[in-house]
Structures are given as C-alpha cells and as structure tokens.
C-alpha cells in the first residue's frame, strides 16, 4: 500500500465510521475473502488450509472464530492452529459464543481467521455486523482471512432472492468485497455439492431434506455459481485495470465514486452514453447506464424503444454497468434512489430538444418534467446536462410500416363510414331513433377502424363520418351547410368525439401489438436462453447459438471469431458454414468486429450485403461477430427483429463469455497447480530418482574394481542391493510415465468385463519380491460379479496400493486384499494393512501428488506419486478411491470403488 493511499478520503461512509473508532496507528491489515456460491462448497476448509500453509511459513496465525458446522473434515483441519477463546454472550435465555475482538487485538497475531463475514452480532455487541469487526481488526494491522457466500453480497441480494426465493437478511456491502486485497473463489460443481449434501456433509440429515428442496437444486446452484464466478472475474478485472492505470498515469486515485448516465428514449441517448464514457475515463471512476421502464414504456414507438436499446447496448460495450429500473410513475425519484444506493456521485442527463411535430412536443414535455425533477431532487449530486447536437444524432433510416396496410386502412375507413350511413338511412326514415343518436353508428365505425388500422385511418374515418353525418342527416339534408346553431355544436362535439375515439382505439391497438410482440420476443428468447444455457463446452455454445439463433430469427446464421493471426474465420454456421462469403459480407463482418457496431444489411455500413453482422461483446472488446441473413430480407430493417437480434446476440455473448471465464478460471488454477507440481517434480526427480542410482553406481563400481578382492558373500550382497535399487528406479520411472500420461489425458482405459481375481493373481506374481516380507491374504467371494475395467490399468492401481501398504506396514504383518460389493451397484476393493494407519486429516491428502503421510528423513522412500496415480487411474474408470482406518481402527484400508460389468446377456454355452 502506498502512503498516498492512506491519505485519500475514505470511499464509503461506513468505512469511515469503522476506521474512526480506531485511528490506524500502523499499516492496515490485508483482507482475503474465500468466496463461495453456496454453503458447503468448502470455504472454511480452504481457509484453514491456507492458514496451515502460512503457519508453516512462520506466520503467527490465530483461529479467532471458525464455524465447523459439525463437519468432520473441517474440524480436523483446526488441529494445530492456535484457537482464540470465544466471548460468551447471553441472549434470550441462551448463551451465544461470539468473536472476542478485544482479545484478538490484544493477542495481535499476524493473521486472524474470522469465519462468516456476513454474520450479524447479537444486540449489545460493539458492532452490529461482523464485517465491521473485521474492519476494526484490519485497522489494527492484523491480516484477516474470512469466508463469504455470494448471496450475502448486498448488490446481489435481489438477484439471489429471485433465484433462491428466500431473502437473505445478513448482507455485506459491496465495498467491503471490492476493497478486499484478495478474493479466492471456492468452486464446486452443483452436482458434487448436491452429492455432498446428500451424504450429510453439509447439514445434519434432518435439515438436509429441507435444504435440498428449497435451495440445493441444480438450477439454483448453477445460477449462484455463475454469479460467484462473475463476481470473482469482475474483481480480477478491476485489479488488472487499476494496476495498468497505476503504471500508465498518476491520475486521481480510484475511489468509490460512480458516474450514472440516465438514458431515455430520446435521440440524445447515444451522445449521453459517449459523454458518460469520456467523463468516467477522465475521472477514472466506474460508471453506470440506467434507464427506467414505466408502464407506458411499451406503448412508445418501436423507433424510440430502439433508440433506448441501442444506447444501453452501446453503454455496455463501452464498459458501463447497465441497469434497467422499473417505476410506476416517479421516474426521477427512482433514479435518485438508485443513485444513492449505489454510491453515485455524478449524474449525466440529457436536455431534450423540442421536437417538430405537436405530438412529439407533447411527449417531450412530459420528459422535460423528468429531467427538471431530476435537477430539483439531485441536490447532493454533481449533475451534468448534455445538449444534443442535432446533426450528429441524425436518425438512421428505419422502414416505415408497410404501405399496403395503411392503404387498406383508408379503404376500410370509407367502407365502414358508408355502411354506417346505409344503416342510418332506414333507421332515420322510420323515425326509430332521433337523428342525433345515429352518431353512435359512426363512432362505432371509427373505433373499429382505429382498433384495426391505427391512428391515420381512424382520423380519416372521423372526418368522413363527420362529413357524411352532416350531409345525410343534418338539415338541410344532402348539403354540407348547417341550419340550426345547436346542430353546429352537436356536430363539433361529434367530430371531437370521433377524433378522440379513433385516437384511443388506435392507441389500444398499438399497445396490444406491442404487448404481443413483446410476448413473442420473450418466448423466443426464453427458449433460446434455455437451450444455450445447457451447452457447457465452448463449441457446444457456438453450435447452439448458431442453430437456435437461426431458428429464433428465421435466418441463416454465422459466427466468426479471430484466429491466431487476428483474421476473422467462420467457426460455426447454420445450416452450415458459408462456402463463399462475398466481399461485402466479409467487409461488414470485419467492420462489426473492429468498430464494435452492427454492419451490413439494415444498417448504415455496407447495407448492400445480404448479411447483418453484429459484434459479440459483453464488456470490452468484441471477441467475435454474429451474422444473420434473414429469409425475408425486409426483416433486417424491422426494429422488432433488430431488437430480437440484439437480445439473441446478448445471450450468445454472455454464454460465450461465461464459458470463457469459467475456462480461464480453471486454466489459471491449473497453471498455478502445475507450477507447484513442477517444483515438486523437480525435487522428486533430483532426490528420489538419484538415490537408487547412488547405490547402483556405488555397488557396481566396487564390483568392477579389479583391485578389491571381496569375499563371495559381500559380492552377492552388493549385487542384490544394486538389483533392488534398480528395480525401485524402474518403478519410479513407471510412476512418472503414468503420471505424465494421466496429466495429458492420454490414458484411455480399454474396459471390459474382468475377474478381479485374475488381476490379483497377476499382480501377486509381479510383486512377489516387494511382498516378500509380508503375508498377502486374498479374500474374494466366489460369486463376485465381473468388473467393467481395464485389467492393465487397474492392475497398476492395485500394484501401487500394495506397494504403498508394503512400504508403511512393518515386516511380518499381513496385507489383505478384500473385494466385495458396496451395496450401490459397485465393487469395492480394499487393501488393508497393519501399519500405523493414516490420520483422519490426511485421508484426502494422501491422494495428492507428492503428499506423504510421514515426512522427514525417516520417511520411507517413494516418489509421492503412487496414490495420486491410483486416484487418476480409478477416476478414469469413473470410480473413486478413499482412505479409511483398517478393521477395528487399526492400520489403514485403501478402498477403490469400481463399476461392475453389466450382466452377460449371452452365454456362449447356450448360443453354441
């Protein structure tokens, strides 16, 4: 931390408060959060693991508060850590045990473990929330490791509530997470988590059933997991960005400030977004693009909605966080409320420009009220108003609704008016109704036209009705003149009524149409999203995107991504990749990719192409383009289709991005692990592989020396020692080979039905020498079904298990191989020894590479690969391996669970 950073104003009010209580006399501690998607993924376990690592590195670690929740593996991890006694707090007749913050600060370790950051302290505690305790501990210069579930992050609370259906009361402000020095994501695939739950590893069985139903469903867990992945990825992004900025410029330090761009459907929206981007960049602060949807929103013209969508999308492309709010009427109020909740300090709004048509002027007027009210209410914000430059905001040509529909509307207006007149004439002639009542016929007609054909025809029908009524029914009949003044009034009222009815009906029609379109769009999108969400591999996502995109849009689709040289290549297409993509289409694709905006048919760039290309991007640079060629070329210009296309693209981009993030994350982990492995491997090679060679060379050179005259017995002993060591070397090399092959996934089991006894027989003869000093017992029931395994690979696994047993069990003891069924349709092969056994805490770890239960110089020699290879080999068969205590708690039992072969349906005796 640089000194300058300590001087900066505290970004958040609460942080200030927390710090004020104990002015930091020294460097602030570092906070590391272990973040998980759900309870039970192993956060506490990971935290304890790290604690042990640091402790071994000489750091003074104290477990200030660790909740084991009765989980055995976690409790075992606590062994060896200094525990801080908890403070006992009486609360409602119970005694709760809480973090003793004073004792912790007094004890002053270098590193404190404080579990469950989101915990609420009981009333009467110093701070209401545990995260505030943690802040205080950090301020006193103690590093803290803590754990947090994704649903406890404030800003995700709503989303989590939607997913899980239960509101989480205990939340932690985003800033606390954002300020953390490190976040480690503890990730566990939902299926494994559900398995763990079912095995009772998370909750006691009584609670587990309820939890399974309410929370631990695959869908919910997947959604939460994605959220956790995104949060962590976001944090990593932010770290990289701030690192780069720090290197490039010595600008203002990042603070918790935010800029919010308020977007509405006005043409100025895009300008606003660009200005917002520039402002945010200059100030080096994050920014948000926010829009408010009101009930009247869907009634807006397609064009206006398009404007807004475009602007939001642009904002997203430019790196803004985009948020759509909902409000009944108080748009300004909603915007300000949101701004305050997100710690926004600057607002950017547009000043609407007066529109040409009176209708527009009217709607513009209502918007004016919003921006005015924003200005009135935003007293605690720095507000920037942007005035649009009309020329820069020239609207792109959008196809008008089809002319023939319009023409049909006008014809209908004439026909309906004529019918109303024809109906009216006989009614009037027999004096059934007073002639003024006949206006009802006309109004009905106008309404029908309005409801079917929209505003223009309905206005036209109103006028026609007015003229006909005047002409046929108002004295003097068959003229357009009016005799009585009272009838002038009646006629005027009629005209107004007709106009109003027509307008109302046309509005209704517009709303219904828009609703219908929305519904279709949502349905299509929903189907699409569901299909694409089920794709897990990158190629699957691309394929699903191309195929389902084509279906949703009724078009041919293409996905292009840059190759290693940066040139766009077609990677997926539906129905197929295009053999000959013409130069215009290729150009449009290139443009879409480079400029991050749509190009091709229906756009302002290269509209002559058959294809419409849009960039695939979530935040930042596009990573590809999505192209469509509509079956009906007219559709490219239809805003509704465009909107659908944008939404589909968004889904594709998000799916691809999600996939990539997950992959990057696992790659990063693999990279870290392989670094560790490389170091351990080097150590193993240099030490464990060289030791046998020392003996071999030593023994052989003394035999080769012509001057030494060794007695016969000594010669024999030298030779045997050298031979034994050479054999050991051979096994190491074999292990290294197996490990490499497992690592490369080059190991493909050739599975078939195999009798385990055959494998045991073979292994026994191979290991005759190794097992010389132990007695081997084989207990296999005669009726044990065949295993569905590769005999060679499982033989190797068994060899490793037996060698391991022979290595640790004292000479003269028995080693037992016992096979049986596990009751779940699998076979269990146990290798039981009478050695020292494996401590509970190490039972998982013995299968890790280069882990050895007993370390130090006294440890039996070995590469530390044997059991890791067993795990790899067994896993390649879809089986599992675990370490248990031997029978009666004595010795160790290593248990392989392996699949059984399907029962033979053909017996050769009956067939032949």
């Amino acid at each position: 931390m640089t000194p300058a950073e300590d001087d900066r104003p505290a970004p958040e009010a609460f942080l200030q408060a927390a710090r004020a209580e104990s002015e930091p006399p020294q460097k602030r501690g570092k906070l590391k959060i272990f973040l998980g998607a759900a309870p039970g993924v192993g956060k506490t376990y990971a935290m304890l693991e790290e604690a042990h690592l640091r402790r071994r590195a000489g750091v003074d670690v104290v477990a200030a508060l660790v909740e084991t929740h009765g989980r055995m593996e976690t409790a075992a991890q606590l062994v060896g850590l200094a525990l801080l006694p908890r403070r006992r707090v009486p609360y409602r007749g119970q005694v709760l045990t809480e973090l003793d913050i004073d004792a912790l600060i007094e004890r002053r370790p270098q590193l404190a473990l404080i579990d469950e950051l989101a915990h609420s302290n009981p009333p009467g505690s110093r701070h209401p929330k545990r995260w505030q305790d943690v802040m205080e501990v950090l301020d006193s210069g103690i590093d803290v490791l803590t754990t947090l579930n994704i649903q406890h992050i404030e800003s995700l609370n709503d989303a989590v509530t939607r997913i899980s259906g239960a509101r989480v009361q205990e939340t932690v402000p985003d800033a606390v997470v954002a300020e953390a020095d490190a976040i480690e994501l503890i990730d566990l695939p939902p299926d494994e988590l559900i398995d763990r739950l079912k095995e009772g590893k998370i909750y006691r069985p009584a609670q587990a059933g309820q939890a399974l139903e309410n929370f631990f469903t695959r869908d919910k867990l997947t959604a939460l997991r994605e959220m956790a992945l995104r949060t962590t990825a976001g944090q990593v992004d932010a770290e990289i960005l701030s690192l780069m900025q720090a290197k490039a410029t010595r600008g203002p330090l990042p603070s918790g400030e935010r800029l919010m761009v308020c977007i509405n459907e006005a043409p100025v929206a895009k300008t606003l977004v660009r200005s917002g981007k520039r402002m945010a960049e200059r100030a080096k602060i994050p920014w948000l693009a926010v829009t408010v949807v009101t009930p009247t929103h869907e009634a807006l013209g397609a064009e206006a909605q398009q404007q807004m969508q475009d602007a939001m999308r642009l904002a997203e492309t430019l790196g803004a966080e985009t948020v759509t709010l909902r409000a009944e009427s108080d748009v300004a109020g909603e915007l300000l409320r949101f701004a305050r909740s997100r710690n926004v300090s600057r607002l950017l709004i547009g000043r609407p420009r007066w529109q040409k048509t009176p209708w527009r002027r009217l709607t513009a007027f209502t918007r004016e009220a919003v921006s005015d009210r924003l200005l009135d209410g935003a007293t605690d914000f720095e507000v920037t108003v942007v005035t649009p430059n009309v020329r820069n905001e020239r609207r792109k040509a959008v196809a008008r609704p089809r002319i023939d529909t319009q023409a049909r509307g006008y014809v209908a207006a004439v026909v309906v008016t004529a019918i109303a007149t024809l109906l009216g004439l006989p009614v009037e002639s027999i004096d059934l109704l007073p002639s003024s009542a006949l206006t009802v016929f006309y109004l009905l007609g106008v309404m029908l036209v309005g409801a079917h054909y929209g505003l223009g025809p309905s206005l036209f029908a109103s006028l026609l009705a007015f003229l006909c009524y005047n002409f046929f029914f108002i004295d003097p009949i068959l003229t357009l003149t009016v005799a009585k003044p009272s009838e002038v009034v009646a006629l005027s009222v009629f005209l107004l009524g007709a106009l109003f009815t027509g307008n109302l009906a046309s509005r209704l029609k517009a709303q219904i149409e828009s609703m219908r379109a929305t519904q279709t769009r949502i349905e299509t999108l929903y189907t699409f999203a569901r299909k694409i969400a089920s794709a897990t591999k990158f190629d699957d996502v691309l394929w699903a995107a191309a195929a389902h995109g084509a279906k949703a849009l009724n078009a041919r689709t293409l996905i292009l991504t840059p190759d290693a040289a940066g040139a766009l290549q077609q990677v997926q297409g539906h129905p197929s990749i295009e053999e000959h993509l013409d130069a215009r289409a290729a150009g449009a694709a290139q443009w879409a990719f480079e400029k991050a905006e749509a190009a091709g048919t229906g756009t302002g760039t290269l509209p002559g192409s058959d294809w419409l290309f849009a960039p695939l991007a979530t935040a930042g640079k596009p990573f590809g383009v999505f192209g469509v060629a509509f079956a009906d070329p007219q559709r490219a210009a239809d805003p509704e289709t465009r909107r659908l296309l944008l939404a589909v693209e968004d889904q594709v981009a998000v799916a691809i991005e999600r996939n990539r993030l997950a992959e990057e994350l696992s790659n990063a982990r693999v990279a870290a692990e392989s670094d560790q492995l490389r170091a351990a491997l080097l150590n193993s090679v240099s030490h464990d592989l060289r030791t046998p060679l020392v003996t071999v060379i030593g023994a052989m050179s003394s035999l080769a020396d012509p001057d030494t005259d060794l007695p016969r017995d000594d010669r024999q002993e030298l030779v045997e020692t050298a031979l034994d060591e050479a054999r050991r070397l051979d096994r190491y090399v074999q292990n290294l080979l197996d490990m490499t092959r497992l690592g490369h996934g080059a190991l493909k089991p050739k599975r078939g039905a195999v009798d385990i006894r055959e494998i045991i027989g073979r292994v026994r003869s191979d290991l005759a020498r190794t097992l010389m000093r132990h007695s081997l017992h084989v207990e296999v029931p005669r009726d044990l079904p065949m295993l569905q395994v590769d005999p060679v690979l499982i033989g190797q696994a068994l060899i490793n298990l037996l060698e391991n047993a022979a290595k640790y069990a004292p000479a003269g003891t028995a080693i037992t191989v016992r096979a049986g069924l596990d009751g779940k349709g699998n076979a269990e092969i146990r290798v039981i020894d009478e050695g020292p056994g494996i401590p509970v805490a190490d039972r998982e770890k013995v299968f890790d590479l280069f882990h050895r239960a007993a370390r130090g110089d006294g440890a039996p020699a070995g590469t530390g690969m044997g059991l890791a290879i067993v795990r790899g080999l067994v896993a390649a068969h879809g089986g599992k391996v675990r370490a248990d205590a031997g029978p009666g708690g004595q010795g160790a039992a290593l248990v392989m669970t392996l699949p059984l072969a399907p029962p033979e349906d053909t017996d050769e005796e009956s067939e032949q």
Binding site: E758, R762, D790, E908
Partner: protein, 231 residues
Amino acid sequence: MTPNAASARILLIEDEAPIRRFLKIALGSAGHETLEAGSGREGLERAVIGNPDLIILDLGLPDMDGKAVVREIRSWSSLPILVLSVRDGEAEKIAALDAGADDYVTKPFATGELLARLRVLLRKRGDSEAQPSTVQVGPLSVDLARRLVTVGDQEIKLTRKEFDILALLARHGGRLVSHRQILTEVWGPAHVDDLHYLRIAIGHIRNKLDDDPASPRFIVTEPGVGYRLLS
C-alpha cells in the same frame, strides 16, 4: 541339426549395445551361442544367413517397425520369435503376437525370466516333431488324443469348447496364447472380438479345475493379452 533346450543359436536383434552386451553374456552362460544385429535390416540378413534356432527381437528398432520384422521372418520361417517390449505397450505386444511372434518379455526383465521363456520356446521346437499325447502340469494332466482331463485321480468333465481351449493352451505348453488365437481356433474367425465367450469359458474351466485366478495353479492370465498354461 537338432537343437535342444540346453544349447541353441540365438539371433539377438536389438539396437542398444549395452543390452546386447549383457544378454550375450547371460545367454552365453546358459550355454547358448549368440548372433547379434543392431538393426532390423541387419537382423533379417542374419536370420537368413546365420540359421538361428530362435530370434530375440526388440520391437523398438531405429530403422524399421519390429512388427514388420516379425512378418518378414514369418513369410519364410516358423522359427520361434520372442519379442522384447516396453511396459504399457499392450497394443504393440498384441500386434506383434498377431503378426506371428510367439511370446514376449517386458523390459526391464530379469535374465532368469528371459531364460525360462527361451527354454519353453526351444522345447516347443524340439517337440514340434513329436507332439506328446499327454501334457502334465502338476496334478493336471491333459490327454490330447483321448480328450481326457484329470486333476490327480479325479476326471474332470469339460464341454467340447472348454476342452479345445485347454488343449490349445496345453499344446503351447507354457507359451502365451493370445485372445485372438484362441477365439480364432476354437470359435472360428468370425468370433475374434467375442472376448466374453472366452472369458466365461475360462471361468468355467477354472472352476472345474478348482484353479483360483488370484493364485493360479494352472492357467495364468496375461491381462489384456491372453492366457498361458503354467509349465
């Protein structure tokens, strides 16, 4: 020339000189004469000119594929071939056996193991002129002519196919017989892939002979490759 198990002329085709050197010593001490070849081509020449009784062939030769060497030799001779292969080379081993090799030894090996295999192969050669009608393995005796199997004094009733398998293994006396070989000879070429027939039949034979596969007295499994009868 009537070679016998005690002394034979053995052609060693192996590109690694140190391995050739120690094998020559080991074979020499067992009373065999050794011809050496450092490459496949040289090996084929020596095989024609040197008139060996048996060939030890390394599968990993620099100039040509070991399997090709086996095929070329088999095109004019049936003399026994023992291949040396690395561990995990199951596919290699099977391919070499299918090409006509008689048995294999996995590197690294103890010379005792190699010499035992050589004895079996050389004996077979001697036997090929006068196939004995009864094969004896410990208490097990297989009378090939009368199709009679006994363990001790007890006669064992085998089905026709079971007997055919056991007889095939017995005729190869201690030599490896690959899955393919058994399936082809007992069930016919159409059934080379029906491994489960063989597995079930072997299971039955073992049950009837009271032979525990976990510590076999008679039939040994070479996982993924084949079976051999102990000798």
